[in-house]
Every structure is written in structure tokens, then in C-alpha cells.
């Protein structure tokens, strides 16, 4: 990466160039100038380079071309070039794409390469990338570079961009259990994720409140555990649609089925799965976490996760493991007897470990990797060395940066979410606090830092449904997106504010209900339908 001296000169050039200052997230390397080229929608096309590994018929790119064409030109009335008025700027009539490595039909993965270079000069209008995923990122950047004169002509400045993400895992968590989110809300969110170069949709599908995932092996869970089994569920078709829609935008779908806590909604449909709580010597009629002492529990989990493993193709599954409340386990005499037999004493963390380890064995036997919440690490559960630990607690047991240090010191890969709970709202421009967090700001060796694979913005659903999701997410989620994509030196709040303000207007133009950062206006305001 460029040294900081060079960096600042580039930054300055960009600010002077003005037009490029609409880019979000900021690319790794950019050189741009005031000289520009005209683009005429009816003449313009995206085309494959003859030696590109991807050619017409590549679904990911064919569809992206269509999408970006619409984004660039559809909401405008096209201005035909006036033959009478001489155009001073030379014209660009195509963007040529060259993808080096073949592969249009696979899914993006943690290892996917997203690098691209974009060259717009007198000789070229050219997008080069190793993979189709890099081409998608480059197309987004291209779409942000095109601007429009007051007379209605489209232009793009002479620009050279070399870009790649700082972290490979740049996620957004949506919670469809506390409130059901209609499929359109999810798909719309995937669109905006792509505009922000986010690449992981962490789908917190089920929780205590409801079980909207329509399981085909255990239909009773959904029938009894969803808010409404006719309307508030995700069918197999819905899930397929989400996965494909995400794939076409270079986004992975990381499914979370959180256990052994956060499982109240599983109970009604799977008798015997949850631990019966006791009041004195009698069952109280309420239930606690998944019952870890029964063989039937693990038989159920084997079958259930076999289904989940085949429905969700990503290598990783999120297994949850957070906030296990021991009160109910403590109250249950059968559990107490089991603890004694196993020699766990009164240490319920050992019982939790016992459960999680058995579950991890089940899931790894299906050839899956897993992500877990930090408690699994905090409670010393023995996990496979390639487990990914997600840090979500801000202060306990230690500050989240200390936790990052401990996890990476133990050799595990880490994901940061603690400072990025977007459901927590306050008055004013809180995006700047979100923006100023650096995931590597902890004491640790370069090897430790290399274990941080990224982070996730989390939008928990207690107070969020489709009525307020979009304005609460955007553009605040954009602050996390730039932090995870751009160079660590891109930290100027003024520069970010200017660009994010323009980017949010661009989001409005694209039909996204992104809320304002501060007073002001956009040429095209959001219109209620």
C-alpha cells in the first residue's frame, strides 16, 4: 500500500477533482483528474473483453450489466446528444470488462478475491478483475463515478483506480425473529449492501420470539413456532431466492441457528427439546435452553443441521451459543444428576461446553465451518482451531478490544460487532463513532491482526421491522462498510461526512429510504408511495 505521504497527495487530488468525492467506500488507490468524457445512454454498453474468462451468458455479470444500466440511466429522461451543439468532451461508448479467472456459477466465499482495477483514460474504459466478484465491486465504483451536468449529459472523469478490500468478511446482521421481515425488505437490503460493498448477509433467522424458517424435516417447529404459519415464514423457495439474489451481488448468506439459549420458539414444535424448569420439586411449566442431557436432543440436532447444511450452501454456519441462562438447568433434578455423573460439579459452563462440543462435532461432520458468539470462547469450550469467534459484548467480561486480543492470541479468527450495534440509537450523528472504530486497534502481533477477518453491523429486531429498517440501517451501515473495505488511513471525518452525505443522496436517487446525516437536502428527495 502507498505510504502516507503519497496517500495524502492522492487524497488531496481526489478532493480537488470533486466528482470522485462521491465515492463510498473510498478505494484503496485512486488518481483522477478534471478532464472528462461524455456518456450517451443509448450508445453506451457494458461489454466483455475478447480474452475475458467471463463471456455473454455469465449470469452474474449479464444481470449486473442490466442492473447498473438501470441505476445509471433509468430514472433520468435521456438527453439525446444535440448535433447542433458541439460536444467538447470525447465520448466513451462502452466499459470493457476483463475477468481473468473463469467461474460465473459458483457462490462467493470467504476466500473470494474482490480486487479490481478501473481505467478510464483517452485510450481505455476498462475494468479488470481476477474474478466476477471483483468485477461486481468495480461496476459499483464505476456507477458512482458517473455524474450528470445540469443540462442532463452524463460524464465520467479520467480516473485510475486500483481497489481491494481491507477485510474479507464485511457483514450485516438482520434479525427476522423478533420481527418478521417480508422478503422484499431482505432483498432491498441486499441491494444496498452491494452499493456499500458489503459481502456477508448474516441471517439471524430464528430466536426466542419466533421461528419463521420453514423446516421441511420438522414442519411442526414452524407451524407452532412462527408468528403466523401462513404469512410469517420463509419457505424453501424464499430462502433459495435470497441466496441467489445475494450471490448475484457477490454476497454470502451466513445462516444462524442459535442454540442452546434463544430457543423458546423451537419448543412448541419439538416436544422434549427444551429443558423443563422446576419450581422446587415440580416442573413449573416453563422451559429453559435446549436440554443437553438427552440423546434425543442430539438426534434432533443431527437431522436438523443436516437439513440446514444442505439448504445453506455457504461453508460457514453460525451456531450462536450466546447468553445461555443457567437458572433453569440449575432447577432441574435430572440435569443435576447428569452433572454429578459427568463430574461437572456445579460448573454449568462445563455442561454448556458439553452441549456445544457435541453440536460442533455434528456440524463439522457435515463438512461445515462455523462461527459462534464470543461466550463460547469466554466459557472455554474446546472448539476446532478454525472456528470463527464473533465479538459482540462492549464491556464484559472485558472491553471488546481486549477480547479481540485474547481471541487472536489463542489463535482463533475473530469478527468484530460490539461497537456496531445499529439498533442502538441516540440523538444526532452517531455514524461518526461507528466510523472511527478500527478493528485492529488492539495490542497484538501481526499474526494476531491477520486473524481478524472483518466485522459485522448488527440490526437486532426488538424495535425494528419493515416500517423503520431502511432508515435505521442507511447510511449508518455505510460507516461500517467503509471501515471494513477502505484503507486504515481513511479516517478523516470531514472527508467522510462530505462523501457520505452525497452517497446518501445517491441512495435516495436509487430509491433507498436512507435517512439524513444532518440538515440539508437532496436534489431528489424520498417520495412516499
Amino acid at each position: 500500500m502507498a505510504g502516507s505521504g503519497l496517500w495524502f497527495s492522492l487524497l488531496l487530488a481526489a478532493v480537488l477533482a470533486g466528482r470522485a468525492a462521491a465515492l463510498w467506500p473510498w478505494p484503496q488507490y485512486i488518481q483522477t483528474s478534471e478532464s472528462h468524457y461524455a456518456i450517451f445512454p443509448h450508445n453506451f454498453q457494458f461489454q466483455y473483453h475478447v480474452s475475458s474468462a467471463a463471456q455473454p451468458g455469465c449470469s452474474v455479470l449479464d444481470e449486473a450489466f442490466q442492473r447498473y444500466r438501470d441505476i445509471l440511466f433509468s430514472s433520468h429522461s435521456w438527453q439525446p446528444p444535440e448535433p447542433t451543439r458541439k460536444q467538447h468532451a470525447p465520448e466513451k461508448n462502452s466499459l470493457t470488462i476483463l475477468v481473468v479467472i473463469p467461474g460465473c456459477n459458483q457462490l462467493p466465499s470467504l476466500e473470494s478475491v474482490e480486487n479490481y482495477t478501473l481505467t478510464i483514460n483517452d485510450d481505455h474504459c476498462f475494468l479488470l478483475s481476477e474474478t466476477v466478484w471483483g468485477a461486481l465491486r468495480g461496476l459499483e465504483t464505476f456507477s458512482q463515478l458517473v455524474w450528470r451536468s445540469p443540462e442532463g449529459t452524463f460524464f465520467i472523469n479520467k480516473t485510475e483506480i486500483e481497489d481491494f478490500p481491507r477485510f474479507p468478511h464485511r457483514g450485516l446482521l438482520l434479525d427476522t425473529s423478533r420481527h418478521y421481515l417480508p422478503l422484499t425488505s431482505i432483498l432491498d437490503t441486499l441491494d444496498v449492501m452491494a452499493y456499500n460493498k458489503l459481502n456477508v448477509f448474516h441471517w439471524h433467522l430464528v430466536d426466542d420470539s419466533s421461528f419463521p424458517y420453514d423446516s421441511f424435516t420438522f414442519p411442526e417447529i414452524t407451524r407452532k413456532g412462527s408468528y403466523n404459519p401462513a404469512t410469517h415464514i420463509y419457505t424453501a423457495q424464499d430462502v433459495k431466492e435470497v441466496i441467489e439474489y445475494a450471490r448475484l451481488r457477490g454476497i454470502r448468506v451466513l445462516a444462524e441457528f442459535d442454540t442452546p439459549g434463544h430457543t423458546q420458539s423451537w419448543g412448541p414444535g419439538v416436544p422434549g427439546l427444551l429443558t423443563p424448569c422446576y419450581s422446587g420439586s415440580h416442573p413449573s411449566g416453563t422451559f429453559g435452553p435446549v436440554n443437553p442431557i438427552l440423546n434425543s436432543t442430539y438426534e434432533f440436532m443431527s437431522t436438523f443441521f443436516l437439513e440446514v447444511s444442505s439448504v445453506f450452501p455457504d461453508f460457514y454456519l453460525h451456531l450462536g451459543g450466546d447468553e445461555v441462562d443457567f437458572t433453569c438447568w440449575k432447577s432441574n433434578p435430572d440435569i443435576q444428576a447428569f452433572m454429578k455423573k459427568q463430574g461437572f460439579g456445579n460448573d454449568f459452563k462445563q455442561l454448556e461446553s458439553f452441549y456445544i462440543q457435541t453440536l460442533l462435532n455434528i456440524v463439522s461432520a457435515y463438512g461445515k465451518g462455523y462461527v459462534v458468539w464470543q461466550e463460547v470462547f469466554d466459557n472455554n469450550v474446546k472448539v476446532r482451531p478454525d472456528t470463527v469467534i464473533q465479538v459482540w459484548r462492549e464491556e464484559t467480561p472485558v472491553h471488546y478490544m481486549k477480547e479481540m486480543e485474547l481471541i487472536t492470541k489463542a489463535g482463533f479468527r475473530a469478527l468484530l460487532s460490539a461497537p456496531w450495534y445499529l439498533n442502538h440509537i441516540t440523538y444526532g450523528p452517531d455514524w461518526s463513532e461507528i466510523y472511527m472504530v478500527d478493528p485492529l486497534e488492539f495490542k497484538g502481533s501481526p499474526q494476531q491482526k491477520a486473524l481478524v477477518i472483518g466485522g459485522e453491523a448488527c440490526m437486532w429486531g426488538e424495535y425494528v421491522d419493515s416500517t423503520n429498517l431502511a432508515p435505521r440501517l442507511w447510511p449508518r451501515g455505510g460507516a461500517v462498510a467503509e471501515r471494513l473495505w477502505s484503507n486504515e488511513l481513511v479516517t478523516s471525518l470531514d472527508f467522510a461526512f462530505k462523501r457520505l452525505t452525497r452517497f446518501r443522496c445517491e441512495l435516495l436517487r436509487r430509491g433507498v429510504q436512507a435517512q439524513p446525516l444532518n440538515v440539508g437536502y437532496c436534489e431528489q428527495e424520498f417520495e412516499q408511495t
Binding site: Y427, Y463, V519
Partner: protein
């Protein structure tokens, strides 16, 4: 990974909210709660095909009253155009059917007038088969009663539209129940304003306080001074034309809502300066003008000529008796820097007391407004700064700190007042802040009976620094609904859990009617 730091109460709330799957049988859900409700267990069925609104022969208003005709059509849609259709034949074939709601307006209907602060909104509703009666002195009461009637009808588990026999007597606790929107910090498209008026009617609000201009922009298109918006608006597409304003006023009138315009001065006027030369005070940096401007220049005759002409226009464009004149947050620094202002102060014998200069300005403005026969509402600073006010001037209390003391002072001085201090909805925080808004009682201050009677109501304020059309609706609703009930319902309606249960259903009703009201907590809407 969610409930951290929220402690036991939040966990209990969570457990309570796990209940929705075991909802009690459906029933009517009223918001805001009427003065007196007697529900009988006897059920009537209602059907889209057979039901109609009509007029009792005794009614002073009839089919020529378009305000009511339009309301009938609206409420027919709200009641029957549910996304869930009837799932099967009515369960109780023997049940009596409610076929008609007969409306009777007793006194002169006021059908073609504008609502005002003294408008009578009371009504009585008697529901029995096959005909129900809605009686009110004026059309305004009919509008409130129609909303209540629509809230009484629900679909039973077979999808049949059902209503209990009922007797309701209702009238508002306070006559001024407002929502403030701010179209200067961010422009709000007309559609957003109209949607807000819809939602206001669902919550029986009756005043749209339109903070139309401020430092940041001047979207009001003035006929007499077109340069104000030509130069002072964000862009030429970010303006409210005379037609737009008329549309808002009429849409509001049809819902029994007053439009109270605010043209805030002498502070908060940066945007006025762009289109009106010499209106603002030039600030000085030592002996030189700094090129920046302060509040309106109070020492020039031209200022008052302009204001007289401008407010004359405002007075005719906005039919309401009241104009809000602002008067808040006047920064004296610029006045202090200006030698001509200092000269003027000396001549007038104001010494260094800039509050007296402010008073001088406001008094002249109040006089101008009284010459056009309008009443004035001002923010509390005008009272705090000892401006001599005409009796009857309404003071709006907005500062959080010790606001009950302020209420006591304002009313002790004999001025009518409006409360807003605890109801700034632009201040957001995590969780259920509606409870905080709901618990406030506007009469919880030390004062005599006469003082309490001077509290004419309150307003929920949604200032626009961080709000535009993208997030206005979910930020307003259902949080403002809490204030809606506080200002309408009797003082003793304050049980939080009952309110939670009703408001949860009411917010689902609002979303069904096209208002993107955000959730109170975990759960779902059945539609």
C-alpha cells in the same frame, strides 16, 4: 446477544412479549381512550355490502356536506379494505346485523368552516342493531366519532366484521393537541405532510404546527416577496407554492385539523436574509462589517414595513386565528457588535440590556399581528425575557429544565399555555420511550384551578435536523400516539400495561391504513 445491559425489567418485558401467540380473543381496541365507554357483550355483525353511513332526519348536516361525505368514504375504506379477507361464512348466522350508522349534527354544522381552538369535538355514539347513532353538535365531533366507530369494528377469528353493542360519550380533555413538523431543516414533500395529517386524525390530534421556515431554508413561496423562497429555499423544487399550502389547509380541514403556521423571528431567520436585503443585522468584527448577519435588524423602519406586509399575506393565506411568531433563541452577539444597534440602544435608553431590544422588536411585531386580527403564539423566551404581552397571547413551553415551574409562572401571569418540553420526539433513544411521554401529565405543576384552566394543551415536536421524508413516519408514530392519548383522554387513563396492549394493536391498525408506524417491541401484526 441482545438483551445485554438491560437488566431484569427488560427481561420481564421480553417474557411478557413472548405472549402474542396466546392473544386473547380479538376485540375492539380504542386509542385514544374515550371519556366514557360502555361495551355490551352483545355482538353485531357488519358487512361491506350492506353497511352504510347515513344522516338522521334531524341532522343539520346532510349529503351536501362534502366534509362528511368524504369522511364516510374514507372510513368505509378503513373499516372494510383490510388485507385479510373474510375467511368464511359468518359464524353466527343468527347474529343481528348492523346495517347503518346514522349521523346527526345538532347545532349549526360548521361544515364549510375551519376548525378553531373553541371547536366542539364532543360526540356520543350508541351502537345497537340494526342501526347505530352518532350524535354531535358540530361536524368536528362527527369526525372524531367516526374514528372511534372505525376502531370499534374488528374481525373475529373467522374474519367476520364484528362490533359490540356500545355506548360512548366522548370529548377531549384539552382543545389544542398538536404535532410540530419542521420543513426548514429538511424539506418535506407534500405527500409526507398529508400522510402525517391522516395519522393525526387516527390519533385525534387537531393542530398541525407548521414550522415552515428557519435558518437553513425558506420553502414558503410568498406572493408579496417571491425572492424569499427564490433565494432562500434549498432549491426551486424545494418550495411550497400557494397551491401546496392551500392543499394542506384543506386536507387538514377535512380531518378537523387546524394548520398553525410559524414564522419564527427575530432569530432563526438566516434564510430570510438571502432574498430580502437589509432585513438582517450586519455583524461587525471590530469597526468593520464581517460579512455575516445576525437576527432581524430591529432598529430600521424598513424592517417593520416588511413585516407588516409579510404578515398581512400570512394572515390571509392561513385562515387559522393564530399565527406562531417564534421568538426563541435570539443570539445577542451580533447586535452587540453593531455600532448602529448600540447607538439605537443608547437613544432608547436600553443601556446594555439587549432583552429590552428584543422586547422592543417583539412588541412591534405583536402589534402588527393584532392589526390583522390574529392571535399570537410565542415560544417561552418571549415570556422569560419580560416582553410585555397582550393578554391572550399563548406561550409555548419547550425548555426541558424545570418545565413545571415554568408552567406555573406562565399561568400565574395569566397567559394561556401549550406544553411541549417533555415531548421532543426528535430526541431518540433505545427502547420504549413512549412510556416516558405517556406518563407526563400537563397539569402536574403547582397552581390554582384558574391556572390549570389556562393550559390549553400540548404539542409533540419533531424537529427536522435529522428527520426528512425517509424517517419521519416511523419516528413520529406510534410515539406521538402516546401524547395523543394524554391530551385527549381523561387524566385517570394512565395504566401503562393497558396502554401498551392497546397501542400495540393501534400501531398495527395504523400500518394497515398505510402509515409506516414502527413497532413498540417484539411481535407482529396480523395482516
Amino acid at each position: 446477544m441482545e438483551q445485554r445491559g438491560l437488566g431484569l425489567p427488560a427481561l420481564l418485558a421480553l417474557l411478557a412479549a413472548l405472549a402474542p401467540r396466546s392473544f386473547a380473543a380479538p376485540g375492539p381496541t380504542l386509542w385514544p381512550m374515550p371519556l366514557s365507554v360502555k361495551l355490551s357483550p352483545r355482538l353485531l355483525v357488519v358487512s361491506r355490502e350492506n353497511f352504510s353511513f347515513s344522516y338522521d332526519p334531524s341532522s343539520t348536516a346532510g349529503p351536501s356536506c362534502s366534509l362528511l361525505q368524504e369522511a364516510f368514504r374514507r372510513y368505509h375504506d378503513y373499516i372494510f379494505d383490510l388485507k385479510t379477507s373474510q375467511l368464511g361464512p359468518p359464524k353466527r348466522n343468527s347474529a343481528v346485523e348492523l346495517k347503518q350508522l346514522l349521523i346527526s349534527v345538532v347545532l349549526e354544522s360548521e361544515c364549510d368552516l375551519y376548525p378553531n381552538i373553541t371547536s366542539d369535538e364532543s360526540y356520543t355514539l350508541a351502537v345497537a342493531g340494526p342501526v347505530a347513532f352518532l350524535k354531535a353538535n358540530r361536524v368536528w365531533g362527527v369526525l372524531r366519532g367516526l374514528e372511534t366507530f372505525s376502531q370499534l369494528i374488528y374481525q373475529d377469528s373467522y374474519g367476520t366484521f364484528t362490533i359490540n353493542e356500545a355506548n360512548i360519550i366522548d370529548s377531549p380533555r384539552f382543545p389544542h393537541r398538536g404535532i410540530l413538523i419542521d420543513t426548514a431543516r429538511h424539506f418535506l414533500p407534500i405527500k409526507s405532510i398529508l400522510k402525517t395529517l391522516d395519522a393525526m386524525a387516527f390519533n385525534k390530534f387537531n393542530v398541525l404546527h407548521w414550522h415552515i421556515v428557519d435558518d437553513q431554508s425558506f420553502p414558503y413561496q410568498s406572493v408579496a416577496f417571491p425572492e424569499l423562497s427564490n433565494k432562500g429555499s434549498y432549491s426551486l423544487s424545494h418550495v411550497y407554492t400557494p397551491n401546496d399550502v392551500r392543499a394542506v389547509i384543506e386536507y387538514a380541514r377535512l380531518r378537523g385539523i387546524r394548520v398553525l403556521p410559524e414564522f419564527d423571528s427575530p432569530g432563526h431567520t438566516q434564510s430570510w436574509g438571502k432574498g430580502q436585503k437589509n432585513l438582517l443585522t450586519p455583524c461587525y468584527n471590530g469597526p468593520e462589517q464581517s460579512g455575516t448577519f445576525g437576527p432581524i435588524n430591529p432598529i430600521l423602519n424598513s424592517t417593520y414595513c416588511f413585516l407588516a406586509q409579510f404578515f398581512k399575506e400570512v394572515g390571509t393565506v392561513f385562515p387559522d386565528h393564530f399565527v406562531h411568531l417564534g421568538g426563541d433563541e435570539v443570539d445577542f452577539t451580533c447586535w452587540e457588535s453593531n455600532p448602529e444597534v448600540l447607538d439605537f440602544m443608547k437613544r432608547k435608553g436600553f443601556g446594555r440590556d439587549f432583552q429590552r431590544l428584543e422586547s422592543f422588536y417583539i412588541q412591534k411585531l405583536l402589534y402588527i399581528v393584532s392589526t390583522i386580527n390574529k392571535g399570537a403564539i410565542v415560544w417561552q423566551e418571549v415570556f422569560d425575557d419580560h416582553v410585555k404581552l397582550k393578554p391572550g397571547t399563548v406561550v409555548q413551553v419547550w425548555k426541558q429544565e424545570m418545565y413545571p415551574e415554568k408552567q406555573a409562572q406562565v399561568t400565574a401571569a395569566g397567559f394561556p399555555m401549550i406544553l411541549s418540553a417533555p415531548w421532543y420526539l426528535d430526541w431518540i433513544s433505545y427502547g420504549q420511550d413512549w412510556r416516558k411521554f405517556y406518563k407526563v401529565d400537563p397539569l402536574d405543576f403547582d397552581g390554582s384551578q384558574e391556572q390549570k384552566e389556562l393550559v390549553i394543551g400540548g404539542e409533540a415536536c419533531l424537529w427536522g435536523e435529522f428527520v426528512d421524508a425517509t424517517n419521519l413516519t416511523p419516528r413520529l408514530w406510534p410515539r406521538a400516539s402516546a401524547i395523543g392519548e394524554r391530551l385527549w383522554s381523561p387524566k385517570n387513563i394512565k395504566d401503562l400495561e393497558d396502554a401498551y396492549n392497546r397501542l400495540t394493536v393501534h400501531r398495527c391498525r395504523m400500518t394497515r391504513r398505510g402509515i409506516a408506524a414502527e413497532p413498540l417491541f417484539t411481535g407482529y401484526c396480523e395482516y
